[in-house]
């Protein structure tokens, strides 16, 4: 997965995440499409582009959020580092592998986000924040197969097979 695709999907998904996806939200909770893109970049981008790609995706997330700028970039880079270390050991193309990886990534990112939000705003109800994040992450894992299939198609259209990056 090369930079033009990363930039294209980063911009499109940031717009979709802030505007269109709210129409399919449940209890004001929508799937985190940018997290899925970060995961896909960590799995399929060239090793040299993984960190910068994850940083860029996190920055797009921060641009359309009131969280501190740079926060999600750091979190996504940590996630990308973890995924990059194991990506040659797993069967990346299998749907179950992708969903399990997505669920684990959601738990890690969700826990970090809830922890930081609770530390920054003591009046925050930890139970409410936790249940909101859990719902968001479950929704994200549910749409993971569809979104990853979309990325696969775009990768194919761009002239590269998903497994060609494995080297």
């Amino acid at each position: 997965m090369r930079w033009p695709l990363i930039i294209f999907w980063g911009v499109v998904l940031a717009l979709v995440q802030s505007s269109a996806v709210q129409h399919v939200s449940v209890e004001r909770v929508a799937p985190d499409m940018l997290l899925l893109l970060c995961l896909y970049v960590a799995l399929y981008a060239r090793r040299a582009d993984v960190f910068a790609g994850a940083w860029f995706v996190g920055l797009m997330h921060d641009l359309y959020s009131q969280n501190p700028l740079g926060l999600q970039s750091l979190v996504y880079m940590l996630l990308a580092l973890g995924v990059c270390l194991i990506r040659t050991e797993i069967f990346r193309a299998h749907m179950l592998t992708r969903m399990v990886l997505c669920a684990l990534a959601c738990v890690v990112v969700g826990s970090i986000d809830v922890g930081i939000a609770w530390a920054a705003h003591p009046s925050l109800s930890l139970r409410a924040a936790g249940s909101t994040m859990a719902l968001a992450m479950a929704y994200t894992t549910l749409v993971c197969p569809v979104v990853f299939a979309l990325f696969d198609v775009s990768l194919w259209i761009a002239g590269r097979r998903a497994e060609a990056a494995l080297a």
Binding site: A14, S18, L63, Q66, H121, A128, A129
Partner: protein, 262 residues
Amino acid sequence: MLKSDTGRWWLLPGLILLSGALLMTRSEQVERLRMGIASLLRPVQRFMAAPRPRTGDPALLARIRTLENRLALQQEQVWKLSSQLRSLRAFRSRFPKLDVGLVPADIIGRDTSALRRTLIVDAGEDDGVSVDCAVVLEAALVGRVVALSAKSSTVRLIDDPASVVPVVVTRTRDQGILEGTLADDARLAFQYADRLSQLKTGDLVLTSGIGGVFPRGIVVGKIVSARNKPGALFKQVRVRPIANLHKLESVLIITQPKLRRG
């Protein structure tokens, strides 16, 4: 791993330092940078948030479908204008002596984070909006403007964890601070309520005007629970907002409030 690929070993620590620098930069500069970059794509956001006509059947009923689509769009426009008029009338009847500018704005985007409650609206500096302008819907408080660009603004809702609203209870005149808690029904925490206060379910909560951000007397919500927890310094009070924060489509932004004499 990094070293073996291209020798770009500096990339990871460099990006971490850059993120750290962004996190430590002053908030006004960061907001200006964020709004400046994000505003480049506002026209696309506006397009994605706009209503869509139904796609027509290009066969025999093409003309009927086209007319139906136009009618649907006009009905949407009529509904939007009626809603704005209703909201303006409600606000004016509540505050006949308050000389304010009211800017109607549509919601074109929301926060990408599941733990934040902010909106992006299509009114900005060019429309007279400034930072800290209060935002209402039919005379009930919705939030305030926290960042803006020429054509759009970011509104922090009152149930956002970072939201703080100085309020007063109409019946008992108890003052306190309302903070967002991310609860499912948008319940707000009423902080610093005296343990001996006589607050009860159903009491109306208004803005107190303290701090100068929110004009005084705007309805915020009603108390839904008030109890003393053992060992707590203050009474635990929860307030449900009057405005339906789950179904916002358009809002009114209050600009330049000042009290008219006479």
